[in-house]
């Protein structure tokens, strides 16, 4: 059955903005390997033109179902920002294209030395591919479906730090923090340029889907994560005026600590998107602490989605909805990106379970909240 794009987007937007929709929304975040296989084109072929990219994105999103409409070449400042850095610095050789899996930059090669950091060229996101193609595709997506522009996805700053500086960045935290800060400032400037190009070519977003990869308890202390990433997230929110959805798919995220700190900094946090902790009790505690924040998650792609049965998937969706969805502010999202190994029957099981248990008003299991 054809999707009603307007109904899908109104459902998502209402939830993020704190209203109660007709049912719990469902969004599938896909990885490029799923997209390429569904579309029948390699990733580079899909990115040959904005028109092809938009058309294939609609095809893939319609195939998977749910309420989402995202570009299949993930428009966040992860791998494709790596590509832009590689091109801007004349180092196409450090970027690894794959036909059917997500492409990536080889970490640590662009900023091996202090001089590399000082001379690092920031990509012009209006001109350096793949960004113009991606932004134009988003505009086409918006034109054709009414969805796509609203969500803007920078990735401050640790994702780029790791791509550019590699594991040396962790030593820099202790041995050369001022050099690392120089790199972070450059990355921030690049992300700001990305935002300006996005607005100009794709349109004005309503909120930013902001990655916070430094904020994992086994990686950095909260103070260091704040120093090298959090302060830039807050700065971006202040300078752009955009509310944020915080994304982090690490093992031990500082979700609560980060949101608390951002709120102290007067940043408006709309939602949180994370795969961990897997324990729903933790998310119930999160809900009690932050009742105004939308939770986007509930399913881990490499747990029930990949290895469970359809019944396992249904039970997990039912439990998440009944424990977290009663007051709205819940979007079921298998997190992080779905790989090709996920059986189609389990993808359908998610949609079926959301339809079955997710219509408002929802029966809440009060005794287990």
């Amino acid at each position: 059955m054809a999707r009603n794009y307007q109904a899908c987007w109104e459902r998502v937007l209402a939830t993020i903005m704190g209203e109660t929709p007709d049912r719990v929304p469902l969004i599938f975040l896909t990885s490029e390997d799923v997209a390429a296989r569904v579309a029948g084109l390699t990733i580079r072929e899909m990115m040959m033109s904005p028109e092809i990219l938009a058309e294939k994105s609609i095809m893939v999103n319609d195939f998977l179902g749910g309420d989402g409409m995202a570009l299949v070449a993930n428009p966040y400042c992860g791998p494709f920002e790596g590509l832009a850095y590689a091109k801007a610095n004349g180092r196409n050789d450090v970027f690894v294209w794959k036909d059917y899996t997500t492409p990536f930059i080889r970490e640590g090669l662009l900023c091996q030395t202090e001089e590399d950091i000082e001379t690092l060229q920031i990509p012009d996101h209006h001109a350096v591919e793949p960004w113009p193609t991606i932004f134009k595709a988003i505009a086409i997506l918006q034109e054709k479906t009414g969805m796509g522009v609203d969500q803007f996805s920078p990735s401050l700053t640790w994702s780029s730090v790791q791509m550019l500086r590699g594991s040396q960045a962790y030593l820099d935290v202790r041995q050369n923090p001022s050099l690392l800060m120089t790199l972070c400032e450059k990355i921030y400037a690049s992300q700001w340029d990305y935002y300006q190009a996005y607005r100009k070519i794709a349109g004005q977003p309503n909120f930013a889907f902001q990655c916070s990869y430094a904020f994992n308890q086994h990686m950095l202390s909260f103070e260091d994560a704040w120093k090298f990433e959090g302060r830039f997230i807050a700065r971006f929110a202040r300078e752009s005026g955009l509310p944020l959805v915080i994304h982090n798919c690490g093992f031990k995220p500082y979700h609560m600590e980060l949101i608390e700190k951002l709120q102290q900094e007067k940043v408006h946090v709309l939602g949180v998107n994370g795969s961990h902790p897997l324990d729903i009790d933790w998310w119930c505690a999160f809900r009690r602490k932050f009742p105004e924040i939308t939770i986007m998650g509930g399913l881990h792609v490499n747990a029930e989605m990949e290895n469970g049965t359809e019944k396992d998937v249904e039970n997990r969706v039912k439990e998440v909805i009944r424990r977290l969805g009663g007051d709205g502010r819940l979007i079921i999202t298998p997190t992080c990106c779905m790989p090709w190994r996920v059986p189609l029957s389990n993808i359908k099981a998610v949609s079926d379970a959301v339809e079955k248990y997710g219509s408002y008003p929802i029966t809440i299991d009060e005794h287990i909240r």
């Binding site: 794959k98 899996t101 594991s167 962790y170 202790r174 897997l278 490499n302 992080c336 790989p339």
Partner: protein, 211 residues
Amino acid sequence: MNHQLFASMQEQVATLDEQNLFKTIDEALRLGAIPADIISKGLSTGLESVGEKFERGEFFLPELMLSGHLMKKAIERIRPYMVSGQRESSGKILLGTIEGDVHYIGKNIFSAVLEGDGYVVHDLGVDVPPSLFLEKAKELAPDVIGMSALISVAVSKMAETIALLRDNGIQTSVIVGGAALTEKNANTIGADEFACDAWQGLRIVRKLTHR
């Protein structure tokens, strides 16, 4: 005398005090301490303290990496005093990021900690195809094989690699790690062990190599 020096070494490793650690090692060697004792009674015990601080959330990846580098340098410093065959290594580890994934940070941090604990690490790098894991497993006969994947799409290649190893008679324990994995799906793909961070990985490798 040595007991005091070993205690100092433990403290200096635990506080990442490179300058004083090397002075203490030199002093211990001058007084005739056996290199094996320096490692087991001084350095390794100090590394345990680093791991405990990491588990308690007092230390993080920067400290874990620094401790690995510090231990490696310390072992290099006493190596000339080792007699032939004496604690050549704690074991041999084959390590790589699986094909389809070029992230190396997690793997490198694990490698630094392993080397710091005296293991010989054969690092195959990133984007390593299953056939290369097999070829090197046959050639090097490692005690443990470690595979890393950050992105979820690489997990299927891990499963393929483990199956290829087993089909070809390689029964070496395989430890997997990386953000794309959980303990449950590590079991599903046929891995023997799963580690959610470098320190847990080291503990598991120590167990697998009977240390």
